[in-house]
Amino acid sequence: MSETARDTILDVQHLTMRFGGLVAVNDLSFKAARGKITAIIGPNGAGKTTVFNCITGFYQPTEGMLELTHATGKHFLLERMRDFKIAAHARVTRTFQNIRLFAGMTALENLLVAQHNHLMKASGFTVLGLVGWPGYRHAKREAIDRARFWLDRIGLLARADDPAGVLAYGQQRRLEIARAMCAEPVLLCLDEPAAGLNPREAHELNKFLLAIRNETGTSILLIEHHMRVVMEISDQVVVLDYGQKIAEGSPAEIRGDPKVIAAYLGVEKEEVA
């Protein structure tokens, strides 16, 4: 396998998503590099969340291929897989634009659900767990330790036993990311993680995401409007407008790209060309 292929974790090829007559995503192709942070930006309605939903299996793409490659070389064709299989086998997890935590369960429980499959196997699909099998108890302790680790990372160790629904907004956002990380993904998809955060919180988020990238080697795919977050931490940026890619490059390149500026500020087409 070529050097470049191993460096690419997600290869999006000619992704198209149509809803009846509406084309949400049109012939999108880009590569997300392994161990790097790739941001997808664009004005509202550009189709960013649709791309995410295709990648994570909540929509089935009308056309196109989504090839995920693990470091081991194992390939997955995401466009054919069901949502939970993408998370369980291809190890792609995500967060949501409108936070989807299990509000009535504690922070700790949230993080344990993320480790469900591992724990299920350890409990012998419940049967062994029912009879108190020590192997399961060990796995459970490990799972709690992993949860404890992440709770500490996001500063919520003291709130571990509080229901997720009562946490502050910023805390909930962080918890959702931690929950996605507890499933040990190779690709973490974050849908507007900085939405509604003040500058200080956004800065903390940047540190957190960079730490994830550097320490765990997890690749990150990021949808964001918060330009500071995008510019400061992304390694690669893909710009969408009306469902099509209009630019791709490093943050510096994107910052000065006239097409990108036009898309965001609505400059006349003639002026751009």
């Binding site: 809803f19 939903n53 909540f58 949501f96």
Partner: protein, 304 residues
Amino acid sequence: MEYFLQQLINGLTLGSIYALVAIGYTMVYGIIGMINFAHGDIFMVGGFLALIAFLGLLAIGVTAVPLALFLVLIVAMLLTALYGWTVERIAYRPLRGSFRLAPLISAIGMSIFLQNYVQIAQGARVKSLPPLVTGAHVLMDSGKFVVQLTNIQIVIIVTTTVLMLLFSWMVSSTRLGRDMRACEQDLKMAALVGVNTDRTISLTFVIGAALAAVAGIMYLLYYGAIDFFVGFVAGVKAFTAAVLGGIGSLPGAMLGGLMIGLIETFWSAYFSSEYKDVAAFSILILVLIFMPTGILGRPEVEKV
């Protein structure tokens, strides 16, 4: 052939009755997302009120059938509408915004309450009425089988059609109809732009109940009998009709009603009448599983 035609006529008649009840289900589901479990029993109450009204009028000497029919229609519609309003106020409004199961349990409780209320008030036995609208017109006579269109069938189909048209007009052209459609789309937003959502919802229940009352009267006249338990089965069938046609869609309710009426009639005529209820339940299951938005409903895209 003649047999088929007769079943067709019978099916359309039955279907019209179901359609009237189905409208109530679909309207309520469209506006507050709740299945009004007790709606079938409102239909039953309407029938009973009609029965009592008829007998009352007969007792005081009103024997002219068209006049009696007209008065009974008014009285039953008004009073049944009152029942619909009361049920909403007592059992559903306090639970608006509560968790999913609460209105459902409340509705089931209301259904049980209404059934037993009528049973206690008027007795558990089947109540029968001598046929008030008699006479038939022979459409085809092949010697083996006579295809008839009875007067009561004409009455039912005409009344139903008129009411449907009136109702469709109301929904599309009046202020109330607009308010209803707004609430159906987005209840909170409708409230924010000044629609009196409480009143609109109440009126939805009221109108649904009034239509169910008409269905009850028609049922009583057509079958000549009513008992306190008809609401349950009729309710499920009408709900099936609403779902089949597309829940939340008015034309869907009408279409669904006619289809269920036809399916039930043909099934009874050509297969077995014991399992005709199973036919209705099965259709319900099949539709909800394979075509949950129904024939005329809007397909829902899962919002992630």
